[in-house]
Amino acid sequence: MNENISFTLNDKAVSVNTDGERPLLWVLRTDLGLTGTKYGCGKALCGACTVIMDGMAVRSCVIPVSNVEGRKILTIEGLAKNGKLHPIQEAFAKHDALQCGFCTPGMILNAYSLLSSNPEPSRQEIIDGMEYNLCRCGAHTRIIRAIEEAAQEMKGAR
């Protein structure tokens, strides 16, 4: 059943007319043309499709698009502001916290959510918070380091 669904996407109002059961992931990637959000498993098992919904990380492959009506969605494309990378993006680039880069958008947004609920996480809290985001290239150590540094950086900016 097609319906009109309106929400805020990367600070802009958008609306789509589509079957509300469809996963947010595919509406973002196809209808809305934002391809930074990736498919890795389709079953909430890998985190490649992570986006931020009202400030919290969610797995867009299992979120029916009708659920985002009236909500705020942030995707990787919306993280850098005015051409300036977000501190988490900076830190990922600086620490080589990526290889193939396919898990990277999901990693960054999951870290974003982690740091907004816990701005000064311990190393163990970072590990626990990131555990279910998969990276096949083995960038884990770098990712942890990048998140640690981003946390520092963001603390300084507050």
Binding site: D31, Y132, G138, I144
Partner: protein, 710 residues
């Protein structure tokens, strides 16, 4: 090179003497300096664009704006060749890194390349690229000498500016020198390249050139290609390998608004403008298959292999006489080691887009072998090769699995019937099914040690895979490696350092077993039995870093293990510390030290990254990863049953590189992974006294081994 010769090169070029492809490659480059070069054996004959391979397989161009572009068929899969090649080139040319552009993996713009795999990019490509850079620099210096009226030996270059060393204001930029020129050179003899002390960039850690694109989501992978009128295809995955499609009733889907069903033989696909809807519709197809009887499954596979081994063939050069070896041995130890199938499981499943326009076809594919793919399509379709273009954009991990490009073959068949651009991305379940798995294998070893702790007998039999990593680097006078027939029901293929993971696991488990029986410390035992000096250095450096000390008893309870390996010319040694939870059977790896000799290291940061990648990926095959199957049916469909290493698994990782700047560079993408099975098995033994003969060491298997412990 004197100015006269340059002038000849400029004027005397006769386009018609070149093969079609060379002319094509050079068209549209505009002015500037072009250096053509071949890597490895020059690809002078055989198939390629226009039925002819060019006599070079990479080139670099310095444009009239001074920008340097390197055209290569290599693919950026995550291991960073885009960065390391640019770094190499910038250094040799004395230009800044950001003035180098890399054009990669596009069959229409880059000359032939066999594929990106097996740690070959840095060792084979690096030196030639450096030579090409040096040649280009020499040409430019030659031009500058004429322009500035200064002898060449008084000139130096920095950041693309040539200047007189005695009067720095006398200078000219590369851009000014190339302006209005068209110079083409073929790299024949290697010019002088920089030596260790002269590098500016080589050997320095630098950040990846693709980092910003990747952290902003702008990096384009095959699945991110959007074309007008493009639809998404989802393929109907057969229930089993070897299954034959008996009947198909697509009426519930085909012709429904927005849907189309396409069939080409056993290949069936649903098309829709949204991939999720295409996928959903697959379940509405009514299909019937003939499925072959399963001959074995993940439990019985090893028995099957050994019972149906046929006559083996001896691998490599056997030495001495096994009977003599057995007579010299104080004790003969025999053991069989088992290792299952594993999946490549890159985070990006195989994806491709096919676009026919008139008589031309363009394919974007996540593949490690764009040229192989192009050749295959050319012959399948009977199209002239210049009309088939394959591009591998950023690829989301390959590990050997994307040497295979079945998804591209499928999408082209589908697009041809559908008559519109089509994108096909395999689902995760498709990926587990169609992937070429690392073969399961059994290794039987019969060995003996004499009274002095010297290995005197080594009789090594392989069932299910090949012999990479099986030739012995231990010094054993009587030794033989035999490879037996393979029987696989799943597709198998190269997986990061093919065969070597299983061979190293078996060998190093067995070496440890012998050391324990002989009552000799595992490090000491290895040092006594490996003569090679390089290897000895690596062993000692690693042991030093790890802080290895001989234990009073074996097992020591400390949970220390070590393992050696040899891959793509690189001696590698791993040391590890583990903790085993005897109640749950869970293994936590605390620390891993990796020592290796990689020759000259171009980008140490890149190497460390690769080592971390190898060790993390290695945790998977050592601890959990194993494909569940019965006959041709693959039971794993996603990451719930097929478990990849997560953040909490990752140990402290330290990498030691032996200083060898005067030796050629070797690839770092594989060696570090090969010892992970062996080192962890040995560490678990040291922690608990239980020696596992089969990996992955799942909690079940650990508990069984603990229960069997004497």
């Amino acid at each position: 090179m004197n100015e006269d010769k340059l002038q000849v090169a400029e004027r005397g070029r006769d386009e018609s003497q070149y093969p079609v492809s060379r002319r094509e490659f050079l068209q549209g480059l505009g002015g500037g300096v072009v250096i053509l070069f071949a890597v490895g054996d020059p690809p002078a004959t055989g198939q390629g664009r226009g039925g002819q391979r060019p006599d070079f397989n990479a080139y670099l161009h310095i444009g009239e704006d001074g920008r340097v572009t390197c055209f290569t068929g290599k693919v950026e899969l995550g291991q960073g060749p885009m960065t390391s090649l640019a770094q190499t080139l910038a250094d040799e040319l004395d230009v800044s890194l950001d003035s180098v552009d890399m054009v990669m993996a596009d069959t229409a713009r880059c000359p032939f390349d066999a594929g990106t795999w097996g740690s070959t990019t840095t060792p084979q490509f690096g030196p030639i690229l450096r030579a090409a850079g040096a040649e280009a620099r020499a040409v430019l210096i030659g031009l500058a000498a004429v322009r500035l009226k200064v002898p060449k030996d008084r000139l130096a270059v920095k950041d693309g500016v040539v200047f007189d060393k005695t009067q720095e204001s006398r200078k000219v930029t590369y851009a000014q020198l190339t302006k209005g020129k068209k110079i083409e050179r073929h790299l024949e003899s290697a010019p002088k390249i920089k030596t260790v002390g002269q590098y500016n960039l080589i050997g320095k850690p630098i950040n990846r050139l693709d980092a910003v694109q990747k952290v902003t989501g702008r990096a384009k992978y095959a699945g991110d290609i959007r074309l007008d009128g493009m639809v998404y295809a989802k393929v109907l995955r057969p229930p089993s390998h070897g299954a034959k499609l008996k009947s198909l009733d697509a009426s519930a889907v085909d012709g429904q608004e927005g849907f189309q069903v396409v069939r080409d033989g056993d290949l069936v696909a649903v098309l829709h403008k949204y991939p999720d809807l295409a996928e959903q519709a697959l379940s509405k197809l009514k299909v019937d298959y003939d499925i072959p009887e399963p001959r074995f499954d993940d439990k019985t596979v090893f028995d099957y292999f050994i019972k149906n081994a046929g006559n083996g063939r001896v691998n490599g050069k056997p030495a001495g006489n096994l009977d003599t070896g057995a007579r010299l041995a104080k004790e003969v130890v025999e053991q069989t080691y088992l290792n299952g199938y594993v999946a490549h499981a890159p985070m990006e499943p195989h994806t491709a887009v096919a676009h026919f326009e008139g008589n031309k076809l363009t394919v974007w594919a996540s593949t490690q072998t764009p040229f192989g793919c192009q050749r295959q399509l050319t012959s399948d379709l009977g199209m002239p090769s210049e009309n088939v273009r394959v591009i591998a954009p950023f690829v989301g991990g390959g590990f050997g699995g994307k040497i295979n490009y079945d998804q591209a073959i499928q999408v082209v068949k589908i697009a041809k019937i559908a008559k519109k651009p089509v994108q096909l991305a395999w689902s995760r379940a498709d990926e587990f099914f169609y992937d070429t798995h690392r073969p399961a294998a059994a290794v039987k070893i019969k060995s003996g040690v004499d009274a002095s702790g010297k290995i005197v007998l080594w009789d090594y039999s392989i069932y299910g895979m090949g012999g990479r990593g099986a030739s012995l680097f231990y010094d054993v006078p009587h030794n033989r490696v035999t490879i037996y027939q393979r029987h696989h029901l799943l597709k198998t293929g190269a997986w990061r350092a093919p065969d070597n993971n299983t061979n190293s696991f078996a060998r190093e488990s067995h070496i440890d077993l012998m050391a324990a029986r002989a009552g000799i410390d595992p490090l000491d035992f290895r040092l006594r039995n490996i003569k090679d000096e390089k290897f000895q250095r690596v062993l000692k450096a690693g042991a030093d870093k790890f802080g290895w000390t001989p234990a009073k008893k074996s097992p020591s309870g400390r949970g220390y293990g070590m393992a050696c390996g040899f891959d793509v010319g690189v001696p590698v040694v791993l040391f590890a510390e583990v903790k085993v939870n005897e109640r749950s059977g869970a293994i936590q790896v605390k620390r891993v030290v990796c020592a290796q000799d990689l020759g000259l290291v171009i980008n140490p940061e890149g190497v460390t990254l690769q080592v971390e990648g190898c060790i993390t990926m290695g945790l998977g095959y050592a601890l959990t990863e194993e494909v569940n199957f019965a006959g041709g049916v693959v039971r794993d469909e996603n990451f719930d049953t097929y478990e990849l290493p997560g953040f909490s698994w990752v140990p402290e990782i330290e990498s030691v590189l032996i200083d060898a700047d005067d030796e050629p560079s070797k690839g770092a993408g594989e060696p570090a992974i090969i010892c992970m099975g062996g080192v962890l098995v040995n560490a678990v033994y040291d922690a608990t006294g239980a020696r596992l003969r089969q990996i992955p060491m799942t909690p079940e298997r650990v508990k069984q081994a603990l229960a069997k412990r004497a």
